[in-house]
């Protein structure tokens, strides 16, 4: 999916993937499956497949797909993919989260406004709004770029500046690793938006993370996360 460049191609591949999943689901049963069964299966497949680029591809499709298609099958399975990814990324055992987080709701709302706008573009009364929204869109795109970049950068800096973090990543379990990665990205994103300072600040943040990692490498993921967040708050 990552290799295809057009959002349409990507969605086609997504539909093929979904079809394959359905196919293997029905291989052992004669009943027809709905979302009750499909979403857990898709989630499981995503977890097992270890696709690094998936989140970015999903965002890419959601931003660039033809609005008409968002109403169709492609849109549905894209939504399901988004839902599965959200479920994975927000998964907290023993804590039944009954509501979407505020950030996710906002980003969905923003996305929805961006995308439905183009359907109404012909109407003159909305002209002002049509000018304004592309700006928001560029802003968010820019933001996510920064986030990705900074995460990448921080990863590199940490690796070169402090070998412990790399070791930690290698020794950790797969689940822990992805969890950490996600968290680092999130934190970096936050740090970037709040400090927007020179790059040495970012590096010192990395050192901070790395030292945290070192000190907590023996503890459980949850414990490490909590204390790291505390440290981070102090730092900021």
């Amino acid at each position: 999916m990552h290799k295809a460049s057009s959002p349409n191609k990507k969605v086609e591949i997504l539909l093929k993937v979904c079809k394959t999943i359905y196919h293997s689901m029905t291989a052992n049963a004669s009943k027809v499956f709905g979302a009750d069964d499909f979403l857990p299966c898709l989630t499981w497949v995503l977890l097992r497949s270890d696709l690094v680029t998936l989140q970015i591809d999903t965002d890419y499709m959601m931003e660039l797909l033809d609005p008409a298609q968002l109403q169709g099958e492609g849109g549905y399975y894209l939504t399901t993919l988004y839902a599965a990814l959200y479920y994975i990324s927000s998964f907290r055992p023993r804590l039944a989260v009954r509501q979407l987080s505020v950030e996710a709701q906002q980003s969905l709302n923003q996305w929805h406004r961006r995308r439905t706008l183009h359907c109404n573009q012909s109407r003159r009364s909305q002209h002002r709004r049509t000018i304004r929204r592309p700006m928001c869109r560029e802003k968010t795109l820019q933001g996510s770029d920064n986030e990705a970049e900074s995460a990448e950068k921080s990863g590199r800096d940490c690796a070169s500046g402090n070998p412990t973090s790399e070791q930690r990543a290698e020794s950790g379990t797969e689940a822990l690793q992805t969890l950490d990665e996600g968290r680092e990205e999130e934190l970096e994103g936050r740090g970037q938006s709040q400090t927007s300072g020179p790059s040495n600040e970012v590096i010192s943040q990395c050192d901070n993370i790395a030292s945290n990692d070192r000190s907590h490498s023996g503890f459980s993921a949850a414990g490490a996360k909590d204390s790291e967040e505390e440290d981070r708050d102090d730092f900021i």
């Binding site: 539909l15 079809k19 709905g34 959200y86 039944a96 906002q106 709302n109 109407r123 909305q126």
Partner: protein
């Protein structure tokens, strides 16, 4: 998005199916779409997303029916699915009081998030199991009325009440869409629905710092 595309009278509606797991959402929609159209309109994939073309009083209606995962642990994913839908079918199992309670939660959430733009149908499924009924007809119907929803009894197994349910829902969605159009036609100052307007406010502070990228016209 009730887009009457290009001025032609074809309505496209998105209908989302909500309800606890195992109440028969999938069977319901499968029965509805499959029975009449002989598999032809079941798209390449399976029963999570189904479309149906209807002709109601000379107007063409494209119905896209989005199934959702009803298990409690997926509850938080609801908004991802129901955002932007024109109608919601809230399904409960008449033998299961809990599933009816779940419907009430969904109604509350939908009304809170989408206001009155969305047409609701509350559906008591599995009436073939009437002898095990645990949700009384009166209770369900009076509740539905109190929240401005229509109540239906269906059985996917016996194929009862399903046509009526979707037909009624379509008619109501068409009325809503027409009223919406009229509103837009008259006073375009309030053209965007209120929920869109409100959220522009919290957008603005973020947009201001990024200078000079909106010069295009």
């Amino acid at each position: 998005m009730a887009a009457a595309a290009g001025g032609s009278r074809t309505y496209s509606f998105k209908v989302v199916l909500l309800g606890e797991g195992c109440v028969g959402k999938t069977s319901l929609v499968l029965r509805y779409c499959e029975n009449k159209f002989n598999d032809k309109h079941i798209t390449t994939l399976q029963a999570s997303f189904l479309t149906k073309k209807l002709n109601i009083t000379g107007k063409r209606v494209n119905l896209a029916i989005w199934d959702t995962a009803g298990q409690e642990r997926f509850h938080a994913l609801g908004p991802i699915y129901y955002r932007d839908s024109n109608g919601a079918v809230l399904v409960y199992d008449i033998t299961d009081q809990d599933s009816f309670q779940k419907v009430k939660n969904w109604v509350k959430e939908l009304r809170k998030m989408l206001g009155n733009d969305i047409c609701l149908c509350i559906v008591g499924n599995k009436i073939d199991l009437d002898k095990d009924r645990n949700v009384s007809v009166e209770e369900a119907e009076s509740y539905a009325e109190s929240v401005g929803a229509k109540h239906f009894h269906t059985s996917a197994k016996l194929n009862k009440g399903i046509e009526e349910l979707f037909l009624d829902l379509c008619k109501r969605m068409m009325e809503t869409a027409q009223a919406d159009e009229r509103l837009k036609g008259n006073g375009s100052s309030q053209s965007a629905s209120s929920r869109r307007g409100v959220q522009i406010v919290d957008d603005e502070p973020q947009a201001t710092p990024s200078g000079g990228c909106c010069s295009s016209g």
